[in-house]
């Protein structure tokens, strides 16, 4: 059985049984058409400006998966975040690059890492310069305000 099929089994089980770590973050996660394309819906972590909103992730597995990392994006124009390109949804996260990926990680790890990124934006490697600059200036009011403005519009 392929690795993706194994993961499908694990993910279904984890979501059904309500795992402590993942059910906080993941609303739903399932393959589209075949096992190479997935969609996940994640909850904005509490204590962040994303709290109270859900965000959709698109994951696609390259043919070499798990030797190469999955491609992961947010929905375009939906995620205002220092390390996410707002227009495309592209995510800047080290474990999603070929140089840092390990086949020991799986889709659940990836989604969890993205959840963590929402909690801890890295302003030194921005894809959204506006938000990164506000974070660098440590202006929390402006940060919450700008993120909320983007999410609502």
């Amino acid at each position: 059985m392929s690795r993706a099929a194994k993961e499908y089994k694990t993910i279904t089980k984890v979501l059904k049984e309500g795992d402590e770590v993942y059910s906080q973050l993941i609303v739903g996660m399932e393959p589209k058409e075949d096992l190479t394309r997935w969609e996940a819906l994640i909850r904005g972590p509490s204590g962040t400006p994303y709290e109270g909103c859900n965000f959709r992730l698109h994951l696609s597995l390259p043919q070499e998966y798990p030797m190469s990392p999955p491609y992961v994006k947010f929905e375009p124009y939906a995620m205002p975040h220092a390390n996410v390109d707002f227009r495309t949804g592209e995510i800047c996260l080290d474990i999603l690059t070929k140089q840092h990926w390990s086949p020991a990680w799986d889709l659940l790890h990836v989604v969890q890492a993205i959840g963590q990124l929402l909690d801890e934006p890295v302003s030194s490697s921005p894809l959204n310069v506006d938000i990164a600059n506000i974070l660098k200036a440590n202006d929390m009011n402006a940060y919450y305000g700008l993120v909320h403005y983007y999410i609502k519009s």
Partner: protein, 160 residues
């Protein structure tokens, strides 16, 4: 009483003999129910590209006590991005010495290691690396031209 045996059906079960000498608590091994960390299939099953379990699709034990199907770990170590590291602990992956299960693979892994070393010594085998270097060089030029460039931003681009 006399018993006549008409037919005998033998049933065999086998598992890989994996040394478990990690009682010193240095490793959190085996909490994942003995599955290969790469393909997530049981040690005693095959890797995804094989049909029958057994000698053809055997298991290997790393010096770091992480076990994989030989095909899975070989495929990983054969990628330029693996840098020869164990997927689980990121130490240099070496076959553990003195284990019957590893013996038949030693040559193959040694050959791979040698090939990787000569590859990376001569050229930048990785496209991404090449791109990164090009980008870094372009940025250096840029920085020389424009001293007032945003230093933090430039760093950000290099990290990406």
């Amino acid at each position: 009483m006399k018993v006549d045996i008409e037919e005998v059906h033998s049933v065999f079960a086998w598992t890989w003999h994996i040394p478990k000498d990690n009682k010193d608590g240095s490793l959190e091994a085996d909490d994942d129910d003995d599955v290969c960390g790469i393909c997530r299939a049981s040690y005693n099953a095959t890797c995804p590209s094989c049909k029958y379990p057994g000698d053809e699709c055997s298991l290997v034990v790393g010096e770091c006590n992480h076990n994989f199907h030989v095909h899975c770990i070989y495929r990983w170590l054969d990628t330029t991005t693996s840098k020869g590291l164990c997927p689980m602990c990121r130490q240099l992956f070496q076959l553990k010495r003195g284990l019957a299960i590893n013996d038949s693979q030693l040559e193959k892994f040694k050959e791979l290691q040698l090939r990787k070393r000569t590859n990376t010594a001569g050229e930048f085998a990785d496209e991404d690396d090449e791109e990164a270097i090009e980008r870094a060089m372009a940025q250096q030029d840029q920085a020389e031209v424009d001293d007032q460039g945003d230093v933090i931003m430039d760093q950000g681009l290099v990290v990406r």
